[in-house]
Amino acid sequence: MDEFSESLRLTVQLLVSLEPELVEIVSLSLSVSVSATVLAALIGLPLGAAVAVLRFPGRSALTALLNASMGLPPVVVGLAVYLLLSRAGPLGELGLLFTPQAMVIAQCLLITPLIAALARQTLADLDENCREQLQVLDTRPLNMVGALLWDGRFSLITAVLAGFGRAIAEVGAVIIVGGNISGVTRVMTSTIALETSKGNLALALALGLILVTITLSINLLVTGVQNVATRRYA
């Protein structure tokens, strides 16, 4: 118990002092996961909308694949990206392994299917509602995809948030492709894992608190915005 309260004291001290190392870790975490989420949303939202709206052969197989890959294990995604980016790998020449970019790629691959699958579900419901109306307004299939993405914009925020939550919380992929190099690729989750194993609980706990606080506040903020907007367009 003593150790725990000592850790808590250290945690508060760390938070108050805003040590450069801490700030660096937090900001790298945020920039990697935000970049990954933006990229994944740019790919995943249109993909999910297309699967929801367009009728093509293999559509239900693709839906099943998307749904299944919501549960991709981060370490496996990390391993795949590692193999791609390693010296001997097909993209080895880019020299991206053990850089923040590699972490962005890994997290993006991890959450794109999640965002696409959630978007597909949301927009399939909306599609059922609007399809005939859009048809009688002479809307071509591709315009239908665009119209539904726009009409579902407030509901889609949830899909993007879920992606961000998974990205910022995962540790397996970033450790494998980032290498957890101090000052270069060390993010909140990988530092927590490392410091805990070293017995340095104060730093780990401080980072844990920050991680939870950031995730919660972003979620609360966005949910608030979403509620206001949904009420307006209910």
């Binding site: 005939e132 109306q133 307004l137 315009n143 726009w150 009409d151 367009y233």
Partner: protein, 235 residues
């Protein structure tokens, strides 16, 4: 677009004939009212004529073209129109965009249409928040700005109060006067009397009679129509 020739259209679901050998020809200009009790197959017939649904058998020709080929010139106001989740004005600019109207001209055209529907003051309100009557009028001008040659209305005044019904019917007359052909379903005799130039009476998925409106209301030829006009419940 006219004449519209329909011959032997049949649709069956679960062994029940929803449309039973429907044949007719619409040639004259005006407001064609498809009248009949609920469940007669009116909405289904409208969807088949528009090409939204393909019949099991039978032929439909819009001046020699299939419904799907004619679709760009057909408009439809659904019984429960869906408002896109954007402003009233954007609902109209969306419709204009689908017809390839250049971006610069959309807003002016949309505002003119809003004036017809008496909705100018609501231009920037979110469309899903409109009242029933306002939504119906927006749906009508949204279909009309696309300048269809034929405009379908599916029970345009179901669930509207008399005041809203009056405004909607005024709008329909205005559209008809502009030269657009109107095909409208209703189960409301009074509305049919007010609007129809021709009546197609549908019951049990069959065309019971197709007559000029005056004649239909004075002396219907079919027993079913006579019973309906007398206010008997057609079951």
């Amino acid at each position: 677009m006219m004449p519209l020739k329909v011959s032997g259209v049949r649709m069956e679901r679960n062994g029940r004939a929803l449309l039973d050998e429907v044949s007719f020809c619409l040639a004259a200009n005006g407001v064609h009212v498809i009248l009949g009790p609920n469940g007669a197959g009116k909405s289904l017939l409208l969807r088949v004529l528009h090409g939204l649904i393909e019949p099991d058998s039978g032929q439909i020709e819009w001046a020699g073209r299939t419904p799907v080929a004619a679709q760009p010139e057909l408009g439809m106001v659904l019984q429960q129109p869906v408002m896109l989740r954007r402003s009233v004005l954007s609902n109209l600019t969306f419709a204009l965009a689908r017809k390839g109207v250049p971006r610069r001209q959309r807003k002016a055209q949309a505002l003119r249409a809003l004036a017809h529907a008496e909705l100018e003051s609501l231009a920037h309100q979110p469309a899903p928040c409109l009242s029933g009557g306002e939504a119906q009028r927006l749906a009508i001008v949204r279909a009309w700005v696309q300048r269809p040659k034929v405009l379908f209305f599916d029970e345009p005044c179901a669930n509207l109060d008399p005041r809203s019904t009056y405004k909607v019917e005024a709008l329909i007359r205005e559209i008809s006067a502009s030269g657009t052909q109107i095909i409208l379903t209703t189960h409301d005799l009074a509305q049919a009397r007010r609007l129809a130039s021709e009546v197609l009476f549908l019951a049990n998925g069959q065309v019971q009679e197709h007559t000029v409106a005056d004649l239909f209301f004075r002396s219907p030829r079919s027993l079913e129509a006579a019973a309906y006009l007398e206010g008997q419940l057609l079951l």
